[in-house]
């Protein structure tokens, strides 16, 4: 009976459903996390996304994809969204939407840019800006699901313009504090605080050679960020000898379908 139910859920198109915003967390000046109550949420895998659909009073609809930030083990679903000033959807989600409001979305979606503890490690995560969001889901899943973290050590290289733009600063510090097998390297490309000891340039091949696992370790690599960052990082990793089949990418850009 239960088998049948689970198979049946696979052969139905992913349904649009309504979530209720139960909390809002301001992560940076332009980034907010929406904490959602979703009745009947089927669970997700770290790295997956949802499609959000907003409908104007005249019926005009716009649709965007947003990565899930929470771990599959978390009790609530979290989306972290960056406001794009010329965006059609993100200003609404980051400035207008309030606790108690409804949000229409479908998901979880995607089986490609996904990591599960059963895949093992080591893990190399490279993120730029809000490309950190699915990587955070992966790190949270890793921390929540594994009792043998030393068997899947992880390294994160995270590029932001300035320290104030770093999303999840406190959560990342906590994760790293509790886990000696998680190493985090930041690069701040535009402005650095006094006494900054991290990187201070765009991610390049030399930086990757310094931070990344050697190709002989066969790391699972996930790269997420704006298209130029993702493409330069992926190319550099292959030049360094990493297997393209182990380098998964998710480019950020306008994803909208409007109708």
């Amino acid at each position: 009976m239960s088998t049948r139910t689970s198979v049946a859920s696979h052969v139905t198109p992913i349904a649009w459903r309504l979530a209720t915003v139960s909390d809002v967390v301001q992560e940076t000046s332009s980034v907010r996390t929406l904490v959602l109550d979703v009745p009947g949420w089927p669970g997700h895998r770290a790295g997956q996304h949802v499609d959000v659909r907003v409908t104007a009073e005249d019926g005009y609809q716009a649709q965007r994809s947003y990565s899930i930030a929470s771990a599959p083990e978390d009790t609530r679903l979290e989306l972290t969204i960056e406001r794009l000033d010329d965006g059609e959807v993100s200003p609404y989600l980051t400035e207008v939407l309030r606790v108690g409001d409804r949000l229409e979305f479908r998901g979880p979606i995607g089986g490609y840019f996904v990591w599960e503890v059963t895949l093992g490690g080591p893990l190399l995560l490279v993120g730029g800006g809000s490309g950190m969001v699915p990587l955070m889901a992966i790190l949270r899943h890793r921390a929540a699901a594994s009792r043998a973290l030393h068997k899947m050590p992880a390294r994160l290289l995270y590029s932001s313009r300035r320290w104030e733009d770093v999303i999840y600063r406190d959560s990342l510090a906590r994760l790293a504090q509790d886990d000696k097998t998680l190493e985090i390297a930041f690069t701040l490309t535009r402005e650095q605080p006094d006494g900054w000891t991290g990187f201070r340039r765009r991610i390049d091949r030399m930086m990757l050679a310094e931070v990344a696992w050697p190709p002989s370790e066969r790391p699972h690599v996930f790269v997420c960020g704006p298209t130029p960052l993702v493409e330069s990082v992926a190319s550099a990793l292959v030049e360094l000898g990493h297997d393209p089949a182990h380098v998964k990418t998710e480019r950020f850009g306008p994803t909208g379908v409007s109708r």
């Binding site: 139905t12 840019f113 993702v230 089949a245 480019r251 109708r259």
Partner: protein
């Protein structure tokens, strides 16, 4: 298999015109594809009808337009699939995919 790692850097520069849609990954088409296919189609592999390269759909290069998406082969840059939504219709053109391979579905247990 990762899509964006071909030796096609020069070829791609043609797509960087001002106003051209951003180049994304097949991952982003998963929602639209779920309206056609019952499986997660981004985990499927397509073989390019032009060059024969087999890639995960999630690793294809996606150009998102107002009404849909064009999915290109990261090896030869030819169009593998196009998917579009019009009022009341969903259109899928897969002439650029010579072969589509999916993991078999779990059998239905009564």
């Amino acid at each position: 298999m990762n899509g964006d790692l071909g030796k096609d850097g020069t070829q791609r520069a043609d797509d960087e015109r001002v106003g051209a849609p951003a180049r994304l990954d097949g991952n982003v088409a998963a929602g639209m594809l779920s309206e056609v296919f019952v499986h997660d189609f981004t985990s499927a592999r397509t073989t390019s009808a032009t060059c024969g390269a087999a890639r995960s759909v999630g690793a294809l290069l996606v150009y998102a337009h107002g009404m849909g998406m064009v999915m290109r082969c990261p090896s030869c840059n030819s169009v593998v699939m196009r998917i579009a939504q019009t009022p009341g219709r969903l259109l899928l053109d897969a002439t650029g995919a010579r072969l589509v391979t999916l993991a078999a579905a779990a059998p239905v247990v009564a």
